[in-house]
Every structure is written in structure tokens, then in C-alpha cells.
Subunit: 266 residues, 2 copies
């Protein structure tokens, strides 16, 4: 069996999510699959880990070539549990998703799907996060499955550099309308929030997070960015650093070192 | 009053944390302060946001030059609430911390303190996260306050490029032992987990996350990295990208674009 790759699959939408089932289906074409899912949907959990309480872990399916576990933790907890308490050897690949909803541009920072992929990468395993630009539970994952098949094949053949994973987003179009794959940079954009302020039955205020994505690329264009590719019906593949150092700034602030730290007024 | 900078202070250790009080104290030397804290300690929350339930927000202190709010959300929620539901104008600076415990190397990925600073940066505000290498509630923040004073002054004078924030870590040494500031890159390292498996009174397994940091720099050295500087009793200043694109890989996988996405077997 060890000539087949061992593939870890996780997600942040819970085990019943159609996106995760779609990804497991594709992963099984390439290797043996161990899947571990959050018990409940965990959107927006980013790279969060659980420190304040312990985790539960249950094996819920065990058949040839496929094991499925449920964990009470976050997506990153799932990857840590798999590496340290489930798998006997390191997997050949970590796959996360397919997320119900976009993780392009700065949305990557909030994404549990991409948190899990980045956790794979800092553990030196080639890792890919997949997201479809459709939030609905019954979304059509046919195009995403095609893209996943293509990208997984490439990564198993060519590998990925240590510490770099892939953020793959797929437009919500049919397989006929999908134009192909573009290698992209992360678009410059952010979420502009507008909290909805409401009152509970006791007359106390509470706030619902709402917002819309704001693209800051020139003219909203940004050729070569993920937003631009998705707009044109390409799947976007953004290579992602887990080393966040902004090397470009280092020499510009190097003169800060010259000043000895002064004693303050206390 | 508007000739004094407006400074937003947040953290992930809760309002009673000595580290946050220490940072507010330094921030008030430079400007008017609006502070917003998580109600409870939120270590390990990374860039998580709250989607599934609404947030509470309460003003608990209002005196000249200082307002303090409590929020039921994550550190990133705190920054979003401040920008959108508290502040009438954009702040001149976002400060996060001073965290009780290190956020050097890859620990930045799990850090609520740095999540809040990165959220400031993607909203185009100069932002700095501060952490002290001491987890204890009664840690001595004198050295951290000196470093904060120095770095805040520099950033108010010189600004920061759009989308880049600073990750500042301070060794747990006295002001006399502190050697100064080093501009550093993020050390290559990761947390090696060893989940402790226990049984509850009903005989069911549960898992506690434990682990130790593993430095992967050559010979555990890594001159110029944050781990190296801290070891030598320097405060480390790492400029941090919120654009995570690994540009180094883009041309190497550009040939993936040449293959049209194939129809699968389904």
C-alpha cells in the first residue's frame, strides 16, 4: 500500500460539507486518504488553536483507503492532531477544503481552510487549500474538482518548496465556462465592515459583523492578481509564504538599531 | 486635541493583563488612547473573526485622553469594532499587546496579538504588535516599555509602508541587560506538538495540546533572525507582510497555466 501516496484531507465547514466530500473523492484517485474534520463549521477561525480546553477525537469511518475522524478543535488543531496522534508517518500531501466561499485576496488571513494548509506547510508537507466562490451548501463542485485534480497531480509530481503552500480559488462557473488556471499574486484588498447594531429583548446592544470586499488594485483591475483571474473565470493559484518577513523594509529601518534603547521616565 | 495622535490599543490577554496596562501607559505619552480589550484571555486566536454569533461592546472607562472598551470578540473583532463602531476618524497608530509570552518565529501565525496588528495594517494604519518572553501574569514589563517607547516614536516619525506591520518581541531581561534593538527576519521554526491523551471520568479520551518550539535554522543559529536576536538579549523587530504571496515560486510554476484543465472521469 505504501506505493500509494498518503493524503491528509481537512476543512473548516464540517464533515457534512459537500466541498469536503468532493475533495475526498478527488484525493482518493491519487492515494490513500485520512480525513479529519471539525465537528461544526469553523469559518473565520484563521490559524487559531485550542489552548484553554482539551480536544475530542473520534474515528467515524474506517474502510480500505479511507479513514475519517472528527475533532472538536479548529482546522489547525485538526492538522496538529493528525500529525501527532493519528498518522504513523508523515503524509505526502495536506489538502484543505473545498471551502464553501472565496478565500482570495486578504480573505486568506481569516480563513480556517488556509490556516490548515499553512500548518501543513510549516510542518514541511506540500499543502494546498481549495475554495469555491459559492457559499451555498448545495454548490456545484464539478469545476473545483477538475482544478483540484490538475493541481494535486502537479504538486505530487513537482513538490513545493519548504514553507510555501498554495491558495487555490475557483470561480463559480461550469466546467465548460472555466477558462483554465492562472498563477497569481494576492490582490490588494480588504473587508470594509459595517457592524449591524441591534438591541436584545433586554434592551442591550449587540453587533453583527457584516461587510463587503473592497479591491484596492489600480482601477479595481490588478492584472495578475487572484481577484482579476477569478473575474475572468480562471482558477487562481497563489503561492503562499509562511515566512511573513517583509524583507523589503529591513534595510530601510536598519538605522533604528543604532540608537541604544533609552531609559524612560519611570 | 487633534494635534495629539489618536492611538488604538488592543491585546489578546484581557483587560486585567499587566501587559496591556503597560502598553496603554506608554501610548499615553504619545497621544490620546482608545483601548479595546477582549473580555477574556484569547491566546492562540490568530486572525479569527466571529461570524456565528453577535458581539457585545461596553465602554468601561472614559476620562480625558483615555477611553477603554470591552468586547466579547476576538482581538481582530476588537480592531474591526474600533474602526467601524467606536472611532469617529481613523487612528494614527494601532498597538497590540504587550503580550504575555513570545510571538517570535512561526508563533506569529497563532498569535491574536499579531492578528490584531495585521488587521490594522490591511486597513492601512501603521500597526505594531509587542510581546514579552515571559508568560507569567506578574511579569516585569520595564524593558518592554522602553522598547515600545523607542519603536512607537520611530513609527510615528517615519511611518510604515502600506500593508506592512511590525512584530516586536522583547527578551525577559532587565533594562540593564537589554542590549538594544535588532531588525530581524522571522526564524525558520515550528511547534512540535505532543498531545497529552487522558481519560475523562466516563472513560472517554481527550487530548491536551502541548508542545515545544523547534528552531530549524542552521545549527539552531540563524544569525539575523528574531530567535537569534532574542537569545542575545536584543529586542527583535520583524517587519511583517500582510500580502502573503510567495513571489519566488510564481515563475517556477507558471507552466501549469499551459495545460488546459481536463475534464475528469465523472
Amino acid at each position: 500500500m505504501k506505493d500509494r501516496p498518503l493524503i491528509l484531507v481537512t476543512n473548516d465547514d464540517g464533515i457534512e460539507a459537500k466541498g469536503m466530500k468532493s475533495l475526498i473523492q478527488v484525493a482518493r484517485e491519487f492515494g490513500d486518504v485520512v480525513a479529519i474534520s471539525t465537528q461544526t463549521p469553523m469559518s473565520g477561525m484563521s490559524h487559531a488553536i485550542t489552548i484553554k480546553h482539551p480536544l475530542r477525537l473520534n474515528l467515524i469511518k474506517d474502510e480500505p483507503g479511507l479513514k475519517i475522524y472528527l475533532s472538536s478543535g479548529t482546522p489547525v488543531d485538526c492538522v496538529k492532531l493528525a500529525f501527532n496522534s493519528i498518522l504513523e508517518s508523515k503524509p505526502d500531501l495536506v489538502l484543505s477544503g473545498i471551502n464553501h466561499g472565496s478565500n482570495s485576496s486578504s480573505s486568506i488571513l481569516y480563513s480556517g481552510t488556509m490556516g490548515a494548509a499553512m500548518e501543513g506547510a510549516i510542518n514541511h508537507i506540500p499543502s494546498i487549500g481549495f475554495s469555491l466562490l459559492n457559499y451555498f451548501p448545495d454548490a456545484d463542485f464539478s469545476s473545483s474538482q477538475q482544478v483540484a485534480r490538475e493541481v494535486i497531480g502537479r504538486v505530487l509530481d513537482e513538490g513545493l518548496p519548504d514553507g510555501i503552500c498554495l491558495n487555490v480559488n475557483v470561480p463559480d462557473v461550469s466546467t465548460q465556462e472555466l477558462k483554465g488556471i492562472k498563477i497569481c499574486s494576492q490582490a490588494n484588498g480588504f473587508w470594509k465592515e459595517e457592524f449591524q447594531k441591534r438591541q436584545d429583548p433586554m434592551g442591550r446592544d449587540y453587533y453583527w459583523l457584516t461587510g463587503f470586499f473592497h479591491n484596492r488594485e489600480p482601477d479595481g483591475g490588478g492584472e495578475g492578481t487572484d481577484e482579476w483571474a477569478l473575474e475572468k473565470h480562471y482558477a487562481s493559484v497563489v503561492p503562499i509564504n509562511t515566512d511573513l518577513t517583509a524583507h523589503v523594509l529591513m534595510d530601510k529601518i536598519r538605522h533604528w538599531e543604532k540608537t541604544p534603547v533609552q531609559d524612560g521616565s519611570e
